[in-house]
Subunit: 302 residues, 2 copies
């Protein structure tokens, strides 16, 4: 097992950019690519090396990381024209850290295998702040040897790194995470709306429910934002909707009804219909505001 | 403001019994009553004094605490024949620690007021284990002076004691707590079912999702029980259903749609239909098992 030194990184958005900076800080040589050229140039100032295509990135890298919006983009970048597989070194590893369909992750692993390339699915949880602070949770699927080889790099990017199992297992774990997280958001939204309509002092209510059996990360971290009328992302409605779509599709394949997740998905559609797709996921509360014709957010700005 | 020394306690069930023991341990004189005589006699062995009726309890007590199943029982014990108000001392306080309708709490406060009796609603969260360990969260509604007078006693019974506001505010806060808690249970149930159907290693999945943005008290405390197939209460399905019924009724009065809470209430109906009303609230997962014809609980007994 050799130590990886040359890393390629494709997809330099809100998440990708700070992740590349953490890799550079740790001393890795990083070749970068993004469909928007200015994103690559920005990181060149931090000593990353821009490349013209995913294929070119792959030629220069032992490990290629992708961080892209959804399954089609990842498939294109890995297996399309001028894609990673056209330039991949023998015994290279491709690690996709986007959130995509578990089935697509398994298909890409199958496409990589005959070329001697390992494919890991390694989606993350923790958002932009976790990417910047290198405190992401990372759920990994794929061969144990490939996971072991990438572990030092994963530890540069996050702190809770778990090998979940075979290809697709990382993505499956991420989708479970999103189902739970989004229903915890609904829990908070309905509970806080009932509280405000009941005329309770919201700060007191939040403190007492957060401390007990109703407590959650959402309540502790996004509850105060809701009370302040702060709907900025964090993690965007549009992206959580994509993840819920993937979760519901995976559940459909498994013949598993998820009535709660389906409800949250529909309620977020109302949030999107109101033009709030780029707001933070705590904007779910605005769907309950709309349903009841009452307001909570912003009525108690600190 | 005098220090309360003589306490009456009516309702000696799973919660009431350990609460009385904590009061006795703290040195209070406690007169007890329960419709089942053997419950009173059991506590007499711990030096509580049994009384034949709520009225008789009230004659001997500066503060009367009630801990009963639901609104009708509390109304009967406070304002019915041989009830507390028939025997209440001048300047006595009645503190109802049951979970009942906020509107009923307000009505009872209105009935007590002309007799010079203060009424506090003070529902608790934390279940049997919290009652035994005196770590209950207690949400209190009613006059500030009455709250202050009872605070030393409340601190004997719980550790997170908050005065939420006027009469009914304690009950309203409790119902918000139950809405959030029950939807967090649905979040866990759907997430864990998706994980098990996806073939993930459940202990790993639970540990990774508990640590991040999907984390909740439910996941940390009842998730492991679900994986072990342990559906024992804790807090019973039947009682959470009663609380959800109260929450949905309060929301109806407030013209507030709570689609998630309504869904959880319906799913628990399926749990009750399967004869699991006396199981712990984590049995919600069995509704998702039933919907999908697959099993999770008990398949991985530790």
């Amino acid at each position: 097992m050799t130590n990886v030194k040359q890393i390629g990184f494709i997809g330099l958005g809100i998440m990708g950019k700070p992740m590349v900076r953490n890799l550079l800080k740790a001393g890795y040589a990083v070749t970068v690519h993004d469909s928007r050229e200015d994103a690559s140039n920005e990181l060149a100032a931090d000593s990353a090396v821009p490349a013209g295509s995913p294929c070119e990135v792959a030629r220069r890298s032992e490990l290629v990381i992708t961080m892209l919006p959804d399954s089609p983009q990842v498939s294109q970048v890995v297996a399309g024209k001028d894609g990673i597989l056209e330039g991949a070194q023998k015994e290279a590893t491709v690690m996709d850290m986007s959130t995509i369909a578990p089935a697509t992750a398994r298909e890409l692993a199958d496409l990589c295998r005959p070329k001697g390339v390992d494919f890991l699915d390694a989606p993350v949880s923790g958002g932009e702040s976790g990417a910047i602070a290198a405190t992401l949770s990372i759920m990994v699927g794929g061969k144990a040897e490939a996971f072991d080889k990438c572990l030092p790099i994963l530890r540069t990017l996050g702190k809770n790194v778990v090998h979940m199992g075979a290809s697709g297992a990382g993505q499956s774990a991420k989708l479970c995470n999103q189902v739970i997280a989004s229903l915890n958001l609904l829990a908070m939204s309905e509970g806080l709306m009932l509280a405000t309509k009941s005329g309770l002092e919201m700060e007191k209510l939040l403190s007492v429910v957060s401390a007990g059996a109703a407590g959650s990360w959402m309540l502790s971290n996004l509850g105060p934002k809701i009370l302040q009328g702060d709907l900025e992302p964090g993690f965007k409605v549009r992206l959580l909707q994509k993840d819920l779509r993937l979760a519901l599709a995976a559940a459909e394949d498994l013949k598993l009804p998820l009535p709660g997740a389906a409800l949250v998905h529909q309620l977020y559609r109302s949030v999107e219909a109101a033009g709030k797709g780029e707001k933070g996921m705590q904007a779910l509360v605005t769907a309950i505001e709309t349903l009841s014709g009452s307001s909570l957010t912003g009525t108690r700005s600190a």
